[in-house]
Symmetry: D2
Subunit: 348 residues, 4 copies
């Protein structure tokens, strides 16, 4: 059994990691840390785990974590980069769900996260953990940066178009809608049921931290320069991201048939267990992936015009966080990539 540790397990990605890991056939969770909840049994905070996990939170302790084979960070930004170097030095694999190792440009990191990066050397070694686009780099890596939730949905949706140079990359639009769990488990007025239920809003239109991450990822797979407008929205539901992606066919491709786009997407993801290209004409619902590690995608060409619309849905806590972290763990540990990750979505 692989011994894993979790740093910062009190948030929603933490409990979701635990939900997946306690059912994972090859893993044993041996330590979970929280400064604020030191000593509390995990199943007192999360009663859904009663009978599944006999563990209490402890204070973060690098020595104890170093005895693990792999450590997940489900912490606020800035924590993983402090502790990762020592763990890596002790040959512990690190899978970081925070943003610390996502942006390769440390200036950008500073600009968007308001802090200096403290281990730029390790950063250059870190792999961006979106397996469907970057699997080779993940294998054998010591540090994996699990992508943000929006970046996962957006990059998987745009990839087939950009990899094949089909669309004008200077005018990409990603209109994304997220459930409230993306905002985390903190006592903020903005995230109260009474503030978010029965309402819809855009937020961070001037600039969201996932913008540079998405741009970085799309640029990697695009021959041309990427210009992206990204507008996230808060939606009155707990889980789910729905990304609606707009791009314009390159002028030389006008007349490209929708059928060929459908085939392109199907072929691109034919071997990917976690990306499901829906039948032509489909409208994927976020509930069809609730609790599962799937990304479901459909591609449309409305009215046969040259604007391509891609719909991409994930569960932000699974494929957008904890599930993708486990998928990366599976790769790092040489397991089947879908080991412990074949949950059927909860519907209704």
């Amino acid at each position: 059994m692989i011994q894993v540790g979790i740093v910062g397990g009190t948030g929603y990605t933490g409990v979701e990691l635990l939900r997946l890991l306690v059912a994972h056939p090859e893993v044993s969770v041996s330590v979970i840390t929280s400064r604020s909840e030191d000593g509390l049994r995990v199943d007192e905070l999360y009663p859904n785990l009663r009978g599944h996990l006999d563990l209490a939170f402890t204070k973060p302790d690098v020595k104890r974590l170093s005895e693990c084979d792999l450590v997940f960070f489900a912490t606020p930004h800035g924590v993983a980069m402090e502790m990762a170097p020592e763990l890596v030095a002790a040959s512990v694999k690190v899978v970081d769900l925070s943003a610390d190792f996502r942006l390769q440009d440390t200036e950008q990191f500073k600009q968007w996260y308001g802090m200096e990066h403290t281990c730029p050397d390790l950063l250059t070694e870190a792999a961006y953990g979106l397996p469907e686009l970057n699997r080779a780099a993940i294998t054998g890596s010591s540090v994996v940066a699990v992508p943000g939730c929006y970046p996962t949905a957006v990059q998987l949706g745009f990839a087939p178009l950009l990899e094949n140079g089909l669309v004008d990359t200077a005018r990409l639009i990603a209109d994304a809608k997220s459930g409230v769990s993306g905002a985390g488990r903190q006592g903020k007025i903005d995230n109260l049921l009474c503030e978010t239920s029965e309402s819809m809003k855009a937020y961070a239109v001037p600039g969201h931290r996932h913008l540079p991450e998405i741009s970085q990822g799309l640029q990697r797979i695009s021959a041309d320069s990427v210009g992206l407008t990204f507008v996230p929205h808060l939606t009155p539901m707990i889980r789910g991201i729905h990304a609606t992606l707009y791009s314009t066919l390159c002028s030389t491709l006008t007349g490209q048939s929708t059928q060929s786009l459908q085939e392109l997407f199907e072929q691109r993801y034919a071997d990917e267990y976690f990306v499901d290209v829906m039948p032509a004409g489909s409208h994927p619902q976020t509930r069809s992936v609730k609790g599962s590690n799937q990304c479901r995608i459909s591609v449309h060409q409305p009215q046969g015009q040259d604007v391509i619309v891609v719909l991409s849905v994930i569960d932000n806590l699974v494929k957008g966080a904890a599930g993708q972290a486990v998928q990366n763990m599976n790769i790092l540990c040489g397991l089947e990539e879908n080991c412990g990750l074949s949950q059927v979505a909860l519907m209704p």
Copy 2:
């Protein structure tokens, strides 16, 4: 008191009309029709009206309706165009909340609604009832077509840009999110709580009936040819539309300051009681208009680039239907336009 009738009062726009009309100081509802609910007291179907309305549904009867000063149609498409000519002949004003008089092109009507238009002559006289864009035509008209919910939010958001020729009209994108009440009060599985709650989806991406209506409206105010991609989404809430509108500044205007856009929007709607341009940097929430006839708008220019993002929110049942119908009635009847329409949104 103005005597009004309502044809087809059992749906959500019907009960919303009643909520507004029973509190309107200049109106008396004298007849409300429903074939299916003939004889039933209205407040048995809608107990929120207990104590406010002493009326029962009756079968539609043109003679009885002809005694009204004004008749609202809150019916499925195809009903108003059958009854309107006779009412107009009897000097009754008609305010139609269905689509029968929205599209001036009868071929388009046939294409999108699957039926021939039966009174094309009256159609040419009908005014499109979006007062902020078309007030002069409404005044003195005998038939008003109340705009669809999406068209209201989208046109009010794009108008200042198109009227001033600021953006590339060939590549307009309207990503719109609606509450479930927009789907009406019919026993369809798709609209059950268990099918729509805790989920988000796009629908009708290949083509939605509001697409030609929006295009027609935008074309009227644009010097250049309009190309629109319109993607509606179903959102797990009862009321509200959030339209997120994307357009690109004309190349000659690159460098246009956000400040000037803010001023442009503020000036355009300075005299409009029902359109509220929010302060720069705002993100309007649909709940801020819940139950009110307001449209709240903000304009953004993310990262100072040339893509303009307009956020426009309404309550689909009020400014997107019943409230706008009453606003049109006020105009037709020579009342103050906001008479009976100054409800404060219910928040939280």
Copy 3:
């Protein structure tokens, strides 16, 4: 115009008071205080008030408040009893939405609210502001304690039975379900959408602060000693209380017909504008009172047995707080009791 002030206007009862007062024909809000938001325009915090209220929060200042005719307290417990004596001395009417003047027994107050009562003399003069049960005492009073939300729904439901000595008062059960807005607008994890949506729970079963208040009120109208079991529940909705009340017919009354119970309730509330006894066999929905000051009640006698079930619904923010406060204001100021309070519930 009556000049009113509001102390502590940033919470949900505060904004709801404002929604009602800006539309009230006889009132002008001249001051609204908040220590934390001093200087902020009210409509920046609550954009639904844009265009309706030109006022900013100011620090609480008894002198300025003393210039009002009436002051509402929408504050946490303990504030009103500090400021009320000075205001009353200045002939200002006080309508307190907190618990400070609800419990006549200062020992009970200390036990349940954890603080000494600081003006027991004024407390004895205070009227309990449930007009349907205590109208005479409110008229002419200088301080009114607006009842809690649960106590309003429960007392109105039980009153006809207890006033007539029909049921065994030693075994009353009130199973009450509340929307989340009852928990207020504070940044607590427990009230996040992700903690409360898609879930139901009881809370405070060992003892809730509204228990002594309800018991006090029921005891006043009962000849026999009252024993009450009160279990509140948190329900995934914003507004609404549904109280399901169980009592057993006195053994001498077994065989009492349901019909006579229906008549009893109808007669009891025949002259009450804000209490609506629904037709026999009805199941009132909380949405039928959303945004309105109504209490809707139905009475059942399942299977003709001797257990009486009363269903009583209110909007916790209106009849359970702000609306009832305005109703009390109307009484204190000699206005029609329903002046400014005839809103139709928002449905759907």
Copy 4:
């Protein structure tokens, strides 16, 4: 592998059965029937099953079903009793999720379900499938009646009290709150999101079909005659039942300590995998069992008085339907009772 068939798989219990069965290590679903959806792939109706189930709906065919080892009925009432006899004759085990085999009294069945029972002989052999109360009878049975959702939550909560004769059984009260999925997947106006969201109501107070089933079950474990008042409520959530149970300690037991009640419950369910007695003072949330087959229970004695309050929560689609059906299948087939049923609840 055990070959199972499902009759009537288009509803919510059907898809939930499939979610559990495709992940069950000892089962293969070989046939699923639906008259209305004959020929449709199951994963077209339920995209959450894409990649998990390669099967289409077929017309019900007893011969084909007879080749199964076990057949589940997830049908409306009246179907199972028509087909079960032939299947049983063919040595196929039957697990019926409908009401056909729940009530042993055929007169009661006729009264509450409006139809004659067509196989009273088989009915007498059928076991009531609440394993925690009736395990011995289930083992070796050929037909199992899976209990209703409310009856499961209510009986498990009351059982320790009634089995030990602790409370007055003549005055039991079950106030139960259910998510909307309990109403099934049918196109009824009453179950639309716009009718059920943001609202709470009781329903069927004069009499609900689960009343006789609960009474029958409680009577079996009680020495004294059972009198039950049962009030179900509709709650704005998809899944979950919260039963709040009230009973009065027998007068001879007044003074019974809460501690001893806690121990009584813990001991009663110490060996039950699917019943979790929470720590003293707990308030179980329905979300803590969402998607899992658990029932979580807590017991309270408010104010130390003689009214006992038991809180019992389940997921109505799992322990209240499909999960319990699989639990019964496991018993019938000699598997571990929790085989394939150890899902952790989805939280948040």
